[in-house]
């Protein structure tokens, strides 16, 4: 048998035929494999349906769509010009975040155990981030939390496999309080209306504690926590109308923010008491002239209207607008930051390994504490043992430009990252309760 084979192998015609039918395609495949490494499978999770889809999920997904496409084509400007992650194309799998926390955890397990994704990037809801973090640790899955802002993810427990590039909510509220006290003199009383879950409660707590630090004489009048997606806010608006507050703090977003502002505007609440909307930027294009001028607006970072000028930002805004015919809002920027953070860590780990594909542990080691540019600013993975990002922050005042029929932000004030975030090793609540010691605001 062996002889027969050897005999055949010495036949030039047969050798050519075998080479043509099997050998060359195999060589070609082998050649392609050598040139193109196996793709990096990434599970992207965001709200594709439900009330949070329009303000968060769709801008988040849109950014994912154009960035994955551009990264795989190698068309993103420097320093992100290398194809995919370290030359490996990104193979995305999009999952809907809508559903109970139990559903979201099940989908996460499916991504890891059934689809065998290399990394999971996503999650808008703070409740979902809190539910996912321990499961990511259990499954040893590298997970980059995206838009959620609750401080508890890294402050309740140290995480090894979980990262969050986007700063947490403390920064939004510290900057908002500083801006308010700078803009409105002699504040003595204020109110708040926030959604009744982790995000709303944490936001209000941080804002209230900061106000207590910066202006101890200012007192809280009304504290309202309507349920998420309440829809009807008549009683809340009456309560605020009859309060003595000099301004109203709210971390409302999405349909809740829009419904509340439609109803509040119809009853002249924004005309009587100015609003501080720490996450208001997502709805500015939809609210347009329906939002009264003078509202103080945040974008959970120096995104969108607040973004620093850079070639990366110009490119990002252009490709986003060209594809979707609208400007990217902060959830789009949040996604870009998350993906660029992962890419930076992956390629740093790969370079350290001499160009070979890094393991999860190697990416984690490279991710901890890195600093990298994003379309809007520079992120430093400074908190949570290098797992939680911080950046500078900007706040401004809303003005609708009637001539150009578009929203604008004026009187923008920027705050350094170390001014509005707790120092390394200090939890946000302890920092705020201790009078924000160590803040570097100069």
């Amino acid at each position: 048998m062996r002889h027969q084979i050897r005999g055949h192998a010495h036949s030039p015609t047969l050798l050519l035929a075998v080479a043509l039918s099997f050998g060359l395609p195999l060589m070609a495949e082998g050649g392609a494999q050598a040139e193109e490494p196996a793709p990096v499978k990434i599970g992207f999770v965001t709200f594709l349906t439900g009330p949070a889809a329009a303000p968060f999920g769709i801008p988040d997904h849109n950014a994912a769509e154009i960035l994955v496409e551009a990264l795989n084509a190698g068309t993103v400007p420097a320093p992100y010009h290398q194809v995919g992650l370290g030359g490996a194309r990104i193979d995305p799998k999009f999952i809907d975040e809508t559903g109970s926390a139990a559903d979201v955890v099940t989908q996460f397990r499916n991504l890891v155990e059934r689809d065998h994704v290399d990394v999971v990037v996503g999650y808008v809801s703070s409740g979902n981030c809190l539910a996912i973090a321990p499961v990511a640790e259990e499954l040893k899955e590298l997970t980059v939390l995206d838009i959620c802002g609750t401080t508890r993810v890294f402050e309740e427990k140290p995480r090894h496999y979980v990262f969050r590039v986007n700063p947490h909510a403390t920064m939004d509220n510290v900057a908002a309080a500083k801006y308010v006290l700078d803009k409105f003199k002699d504040i003595s009383i204020y109110s708040g209306i926030n959604q009744n879950y982790a995000w709303g409660q944490d936001s209000w707590r941080d804002f209230r504690l900061t106000m207590k630090d910066l202006d101890p004489k200012a007192t809280v009048d009304k504290e309202l926590f309507p349920k998420l997606f309440a829809g009807e806010y008549g009683a809340e608006i009456s309560t605020l109308l009859t309060s003595n507050a000099q301004f109203i703090h709210s971390s409302f977003y999405d349909g809740d923010l829009e419904a509340f502002m439609y109803q509040a505007a119809a009853r002249e609440l924004p005309q009587r008491i100015p609003f501080v909307l720490t996450a208001g930027e997502t709805s500015l294009y939809r609210l347009g002239p329906k939002l009264a001028d003078g509202a103080i607006i945040g974008a959970r970072g120096p995104h969108s209207f607040f973004a620093h000028d850079s070639a990366l930002n110009t490119w990002f805004q252009k490709v986003y607008f060209d594809r979707f015919h609208e400007q990217p809002v902060y959830p789009s920027y949040d996604f870009a930051q998350s993906l660029f953070g992962l890419k930076t860590a992956w390629e740093k780990a790969q370079a350290k390994k001499g160009g070979s594909r890094p393991t999860t542990e190697e990416v984690i080691a490279a991710f901890e504490g890195i600093s990298f540019p994003t379309p809007s600013t520079t992120v430093q993975m400074a908190l949570g043992n290098g797992h939680q990002g911080i950046s500078d922050m900007a706040i401004g005042t809303y003005k609708f430009n009637k001539a150009q029929n578009k929203p604008e932000i004026v009187d923008i004030v920027r705050y350094p990252a170390e001014c509005v975030n707790p120092p390394v090793g200090v939890d946000s609540i302890a920092w705020l309760e201790g009078g924000m010691k160590g803040a570097k605001c100069d």
Partner: protein, 298 residues
């Protein structure tokens, strides 16, 4: 004093919202004994339809009164079409089956319709803010009341009176009452129960869509709005008594006033109070406030 006035007015507005959402649901349950989860879809379709059609109407500068009429007509049309499709195309096939099966069928239809909404209108939200501006405001001390809210309360009140009158004093209403009391006896006396079912379901669907259309100017019309209302509607219907229009009215009023009082006085229990009221009523009167306990048929 102003706070007391605010509690009353806010409670009335919230009650009007709840009644508009719940009245169709309770009507369908009363006649057909179907706990119709699809009602949330009727609400959502009504809101989307109104947001698109009435928004275009106002944008073209037509008179405001016509916009409100269009809002009602759009809701009627959507309710008519959806109601016929669901009742004739789906529920007809499961009449006589176990009540749980029928509930699951309506739940499945609800989930499918949620996706249909996304297929038709996409994931973006829609705003119908013009009617709020067109109806003006009324100042009462520091309180500013929306003209639209006042209209909503008046509309819900009129609807309650009209529904009650129609059920008690018209031939068709009496036929419905007979079917509600005992469908078999009604059929034995020559009442076309199948036709009564179809018409009742379509009217219920129209009322659901009308609730959505009426609320569209106040909310961001977006995915998932039907889910939120169906839970509240069930709570209101359970308090008032399944199948009772008067019960839905009273249930909405109780929940609306209790919630408004909580928001003004003890905001921490705002959500708790709605379901606490429901639990209390169900403990004291498991059949609800307006439904008589009935012996079980064997």
């Amino acid at each position: 004093m102003l706070t007391a006035f605010a509690i009353v007015t806010d409670g009335l507005v919230y009650a009007a919202y709840l009644f508009l959402v719940a009245v169709g649901l309770t009507l369908i349950f009363g006649v057909m004994k179907i706990l119709n989860v699809t009602h949330g879809s009727f609400y959502a379709f009504g809101a989307y339809g109104a947001a698109i059609a009435v928004g275009v109407y106002f944008d073209r500068g037509f008179p405001a009164a016509g916009g409100f009429l269009l809002m009602v007509l759009v809701a009627m049309a959507i309710g008519l079409v959806l109601g016929l499709i669901i009742e004739r195309g789906l529920l007809r096939l499961v009449y006589g089956k176990d009540e749980v099966v029928v509930v699951l069928v309506t739940y499945a239809a609800f989930l499918i319709l949620e996706d249909v909404i996304q297929l038709i209108w996409g994931a973006n939200s829609y705003a119908l803010y013009q009617p709020l501006g067109a109806t003006g405001t009324v100042d009462v001390g520091a309180l500013v009341l929306s003209g639209y809210d006042i209209g909503l309360v008046a509309f819900a009140g009129l609807l309650a009176v009209a529904a009650s009158f129609a059920l008690k004093h018209t031939r068709w209403g009496r036929l419905l009452t007979v079917v509600i009391f005992d469908r078999e006896i009604a059929a034995a006396f020559g009442v076309n129960v199948s036709l009564v079912y179809t018409i009742t379901f379509v009217i219920g669907a129209m009322l659901g869509a009308l609730g959505g259309a009426a609320m569209a100017p106040k909310i961001a019309v977006t995915l998932g709005i039907g889910v939120e209302v169906i839970v509240l509607a069930f709570a209101v219907v359970a308090i008032g008594g399944m199948g009772s229009v008067e019960g839905a009215f009273l249930g909405a009023l109780i929940v609306g006033e209790c919630r408004a009082a909580a928001v003004h006085l003890v905001p921490q229990i705002e959500l708790f109070v709605i379901y606490a009221v429901m639990a209390l009523v169900l403990v004291l009167r498991p059949q609800g406030l307006f439904t008589r306990a009935q012996p079980r048929k064997i």
